[in-house]
Amino acid sequence: MESSSVMRSTRENALLRTLKLLAHNKIGLLGLIVFLSMTLISFVGPLVIPPETQAHVDQIYQPPSAAHPLGTDFQGREMWKMVIHGGRDVLIVAFLAGIITTFVAVTIGAVSAFFGGWVDSLMMGITDIWLTIPRFLLLVVVATLVRLENVWMLALFLAFFGWPGLARQIRSQVLSLKKREYVEAAQLLDLGAAHIIFREMLPNMMSYIVIAMINAMTSAIYSQTGLVFLGVVPFGNNWGVMFSLAYAKNAIYNPNAAASLLVPMGAIILFQISLVMLSRSLEEIFNPRLRRGV
């Protein structure tokens, strides 16, 4: 058995414990490593490696070789440099959207469950309507009207369209926690709302929230890719723009140009899969029977 010093956990060593457990889970560990290294490369890489601003007309669409490890694009730019520079915005949007989505969903779900009554009916009514509307279409239409000029705007936008499913799940979590007998006992002992929320309920929901946030990041990247591809998000260089441009330049029909299409796509897919592996392993660790919503 674990010694009592380990068991007397603060939030810090809860994180440590999780990491330890994750270290024993091969898929989770792999996911974590890929996730961390891609994040690191995307944020630190641009500081070390100069951006590829010049077009090299003589180097257009070079397949991968020793000289061009990941090939070149339609302007003869080095793909590997482009990929390193193209990750940051995608990831920032994903992180921001993930955090905002989770924050909105947790707030709405928790408030709805905590207050109940007409507040609950109203909020869940709105949530249900929001769930039924084909949100991606609405997102596309609205994106044509509102200029999503920076990462914040885009993240807010994705969050605005992404919260309802999660809010429902959080609500049912809070509802079930609210009925837990130790929460009732805390109410009876007049321990105060802050204690009940932050000491009794939140620690028991933390794992759930973390997983939800990772999943929200995944869907933010998913939607973001589509929006960029449709050209409604005018962004500079990022993975989405890279493959969309390559596609628009008909790279798909040019065998030599395959790299310029596949490399950014590969980066997106790899990152998505690392997130999925991470979240699935965390689910397994925290609650093997946790249900995944559709």
């Binding site: 058995m1 009592s4 068991m7 007397r8 956990s9 837990r180 007998e181 130790y182 009732e184 006992a185 805390a186 109410q187 009876l188 002992l189 007049d190 321990l191 105060g192 204690h195 000491r199 009794e200 620690p203 028991n204």
Partner: protein
């Protein structure tokens, strides 16, 4: 003397919730409310024991939760030390809030799995005893564990719920409620999920605490034998479909039940003695169907099943719980329901017999 807790015509309605996505059935009348507790009046004195017995869905847990303030009555009033609990403010509210505590049924859910025993006990101590130093709180926590017979206390302080047995967890829950010096404890099926072999010792701990600290206890259970054991010196109330149908001193209720439902219950319970249980006479019900709370029978809710059904007002008038003085005179309303040795019954024929003075002897005997 003002009663510690007094319920006056307390009713609690619930909206019938359907599963999400479940349509109501066309053609059947949709009654959106059920009365989980209907017009219950009773009093509990300081240091008294009252057991509430009934089958699942009879409203006993709802009653307990209303007394503890976890649910609000839809109608009627609850008084704590003579004051209506809905009007309490600040100091007097806090006195009530901390004065009434609850022990829950499920030992696996009653403690927060992420908190050690020490942390579970320290949280209320720190909040309500803010001057205490860390070491003072620790020694108080140790004292509390000893009070609930978790000895040596230092073995338990740093344990987590998953390292304790069901009985031990319930003891920690009792200790937690004692942190705020309550005067009243609602124990809702507190031992039903604890192993049979250790139930009694948990009950004995509660009885000892009651004696030492002058606690009043409302013990909610479906097990009449357990109720008889626990409430030997107190009273037992029997609930059926949301109403209190009989309220009497424990021994009197078991030995001379007045209400047909109580009689049937007592006759139906098997005993852990083959001779007794195989020769016991079982009163047959008129019907095995338990009425739904959604569609209660008219008059006395027990009449369609009652083996002593006499017709007449049984079918039309809901019998009120009424207590009697010796000689058959009636107490008015809730007045008599708190007196320790009065017995009350909600059954027309039984009341008629009491008025005629036919059943006084048993009440006198039980003293």
């Amino acid at each position: 003397m003002t009663a510690l807790i007094r319920l006056e015509h307390v009713t609690r309605r619930f909206q019938v919730k359907r599963r999400p996505g479940t349509p109501g059935v066309l053609g059947t009348p949709s009654v959106p409310f059920i009365k989980a507790v209907d017009d219950v009046s009773l009093e509990i004195q300081e240091g008294e024991i009252l057991c509430v017995v009934g089958e699942s869905g009879c409203g006993k847990t709802t009653t307990g939760k209303m007394i503890a303030g976890l649910l609000k009555p839809s109608q009627g009033k609850i008084f704590y030390q003579g004051e209506d609990i809905t009007t309490l403010k600040d100091e007097s509210w806090k006195r009530y809030r901390l004065g009434v505590q609850m022990i829950h049924q499920d030992p696996y859910a009653s403690l927060n799995p992420t908190h050690s025993v020490y942390r579970t006990l320290a949280a209320p101590l720190k909040r309500h005893w803010p001057v205490g130093s860390e070491s003072a709180i620790r020694s108080r926590a140790r004292e509390l564990l000893e009070m609930v017979d978790l000895t040596p206390a230092s073995d338990f302080l740093d344990k987590y719920p998953h390292q304790l047995s069901g009985g031990q967890r319930q003891r920690v829950a009792v200790a937690r409620s004692l942190t705020v010096n309550p005067s009243f404890i609602v124990a809702d099926e507190a031992v039903s999920m604890v192993d049979v072999s250790i139930r009694i010792s948990l009950l004995n701990t509660l009885l000892r605490l009651k004696k030492e600290m002058g606690l009043a206890v409302l013990f909610i259970t479906h097990d009449l034998a357990l109720a008889k054991y626990f409430a030997w010196e107190g009273r037992i109330g029997v609930m059926y479909l949301g109403r209190l149908v009989e309220l009497a001193p424990a021994r009197q209720l078991v030995e001379a039940p007045q209400h047909p439902y109580t009689k049937v219950l007592l006759s139906a319970i098997p005993e852990a003695d083959p001779d007794v249980t195989r020769t016991k006479e079982h009163i047959q019900l008129r019907s095995m169907d338990v009425p739904s709370l959604l569609r209660l029978p008219s008059g006395c809710a027990f009449h369609p099943r009652c083996p002593f059904f006499e017709g007449g007002d049984c079918e039309t008038v809901v019998p009120q719980l009424t207590s009697f003085r010796d000689g058959g005179a009636e107490y008015s309303g809730a007045e008599g329901l708190g007196t320790a040795y009065s017995s009350a019954v909600a059954c027309h024929p039984a009341q008629r017999r009491r008025q005629a003075g036919l059943v006084n002897e048993t009440a006198a005997e039980a003293d």
